[in-house]
Amino acid sequence: MKKHILIIVIIIGLVSCSSDDGNQPIPDILISVTNSQNWDSENVTASDLGTTEFTDENGEILIIERLRYLISKVILTNSYGDEIEIGNYKLVDLTDNNTLNYATNIVVPPGTYTGISFVYGFNEEDNMDQVYLDLNTASWNWPEMLGGGYHFMQLDGTFTSPTNQSPLPFNYHNGTARISEGVFEQNFIRVNVDGLSIDSNTNIDIKMNLAEWFKNPKTWDLNVLNTGLMGNYDAQREMNENGQSVFSVYLGD
């Protein structure tokens, strides 16, 4: 019985296509997303982990061992003000290609859009403790004593400086800022990019310039701020300030 129904449905589907002949609509565009990383003009990939030296604004030489960060609420806005959510959230891991380049199941009409926005980390509404099973499984949680929810970024590595030639570790971890016991401050960053033309371009490339975390507006001194930063309110806020210039968005094929 099921087979007969299936056959009928297929036949109807094939026959019904005939009305489109000669009047093909402009196809919608399937959106894909790239999360790429660079250190100013140099691309940063997994092959750089543990090997490539980067020099920060303050003169320290860094070697990155691990980079994971969270991007959420990627939204396209069209000229009518309609919002199209491209993705809920993605934990980006420099060693996991599936998080660096991925196809969405979102199709959008071609044309000019007023902008794209996304959130680095989670906004207050989304940053709920323990609710995302995949992020729990990835040990991405932010301790409850620091406000709970989830990490926004985990950037680990080692550095040397003119005054210290022995490599020292750094853990540039970002998330909710703890003001005092039981008092917390949201620390996410909303990024807005205006005026995008989506025609043949189908890929949204969200670029993170890692160098910006260390230089603008605060010149980060790793000799002072290297580890134990999660509960350091001032450090968390300064990460947020520097993070404002970290991201950019490009469209491509």
Binding site: K3, I7, I11, D134, P143, P169
Partner: protein
């Protein structure tokens, strides 16, 4: 042209009806018994599509796990080095194989392996699935020292196993693949999720002490224990990230760990973070069993870190030799860690020797 396509498609679909008469053997599916805390917080466990859990498969796998015929001289089973009372490891630093040879790594405890989502098993990630992991000890000359052809022939010649394989897989012809599948099915059922701290996380405030709670806070405090970045948390109650780290044990490496598998010098000295469940039963500790007590483990992270080029940056207090915990902090941390042990797990009748 379209009409021709429709006719062709219709004919094809009609012709499929003859295959309905073929009945493939299907053992009875058996879901894993997932602890409530796991289902509340974690992704569903990993079950390979080509080896679904079945009642008959688990029964066979359990029998094989305790079967000494798997070893070269018929004296050792998997369970000889993976004892239930020790959370499926043993109390030796290195286990002894059938020839009297001694291994070079501490036997890993076995539990909650279906939540190892990257499926990198063993201390060095040398096995890429649970089924593959089963294979190695049987052939390892310093462990069970057998060959797979001999294992298969031995089991095939028994009066009982061909029938058990028929019940589990629909074929009395025993193969290496089916042996490893059955044992892997049993191993996936070895689940530990009912410690006192689990009960606390599920809402029973009376199951843990003040000291254990203080210890948990040290565990979660980046400025003190900072254990949670590698060893799970109240949000990831597997209590491991199942990832490989160099945790500052040595300045050079006699055992390369992950680097011996990948060939990448950057991986030298990296070993998998073990789960912290059931530490009350799993001494000695570390990949080489160098620490006989939990106190020694805590002292290592507090004062004993050693620098090497691949040391994980999360070993952040390397310049000071470790986290410099106070004696009170150490005692509280130890108390918390032991609250993750689950005595009922070690005597669960479903995991005992059926032979």
């Amino acid at each position: 042209m379209r009409c021709f396509l429709i006719i062709l498609l219709t004919s094809f679909l009609m012709s499929c009806s003859s295959s309905d008469d073929t009945i493939e053997y299907q053992a009875i599916p058996k879901d894993l018994e997932i602890p409530q805390l796991f289902s509340n917080l974690l992704l569903p466990p990993t079950i390979p599509s080509d080896n679904p859990q079945t009642i008959e498969g688990v029964t066979l796998g359990r029998k094989l796990f305790y079967e000494p015929l798997l070893s070269g001289d018929g004296t050792q089973a998997c369970a000889n080095c993976h004892l239930s009372e020790n959370s499926f490891t043993d109390s030796d630093r290195f286990s002894t194989g059938i020839t009297g040879a001694i291994g070079t790594r501490n036997a890993m405890p076995l539990y909650n392996m279906a939540w190892n989502f990257e499926e990198n098993f063993l201390w060095d990630g040398g096995a890429k699935s649970l089924e593959e992991q089963v294979s190695d000890p049987i052939e390892n000359v310093i462990e069970m020292n057998n060959t797979w052809p001999n294992v298969v022939a031995t089991l095939q010649s028994t009066s009982i196993y061909p029938e058990l394989f028929t019940q589990a897989f629909g074929s009395s012809t025993i193969t290496k693949e089916l042996v490893t599948k059955a044992i892997a099915q049993f191993e996936r059922t070895i689940i530990s999720g009912n410690s006192r701290f689990d009960q606390y996380l599920l809402g029973d405030q009376n199951t843990v002490t003040v000291s254990e709670i203080r210890g948990f806070n040290i565990f979660m405090d980046e400025e003190r224990g900072d254990c949670f970045h590698c060893h799970g948390s109240n949000s990831n109650p597997i209590w491991t990230d199942n990832i490989f780290h160099n945790n500052g044990l040595d300045s050079s490496f006699a055992d390369l760990g992950l680097g011996g598998i990948t060939g990448d010098p950057l991986d030298n000295g990296k070993f998998k973070s073990p789960s912290l469940r059931n530490l009350a039963f799993t001494a000695p500790y570390m990949h080489d069993g160098r620490f006989e007590t939990l106190d020694e483990v805590i002292n290592h992270y507090s004062e004993g870190l050693v620098y090497s080029e691949t040391i994980d940056p999360l070993m952040k207090n390397i310049a000071e030799g470790g986290a410099q915990l106070t004696e009170v902090d150490k005692a509280d941390l130890k108390a918390f860690l032991l609250s993750l042990s689950d005595p009922g797990f070690t005597i669960n009748p479903d995991f005992q020797n059926p032979n």
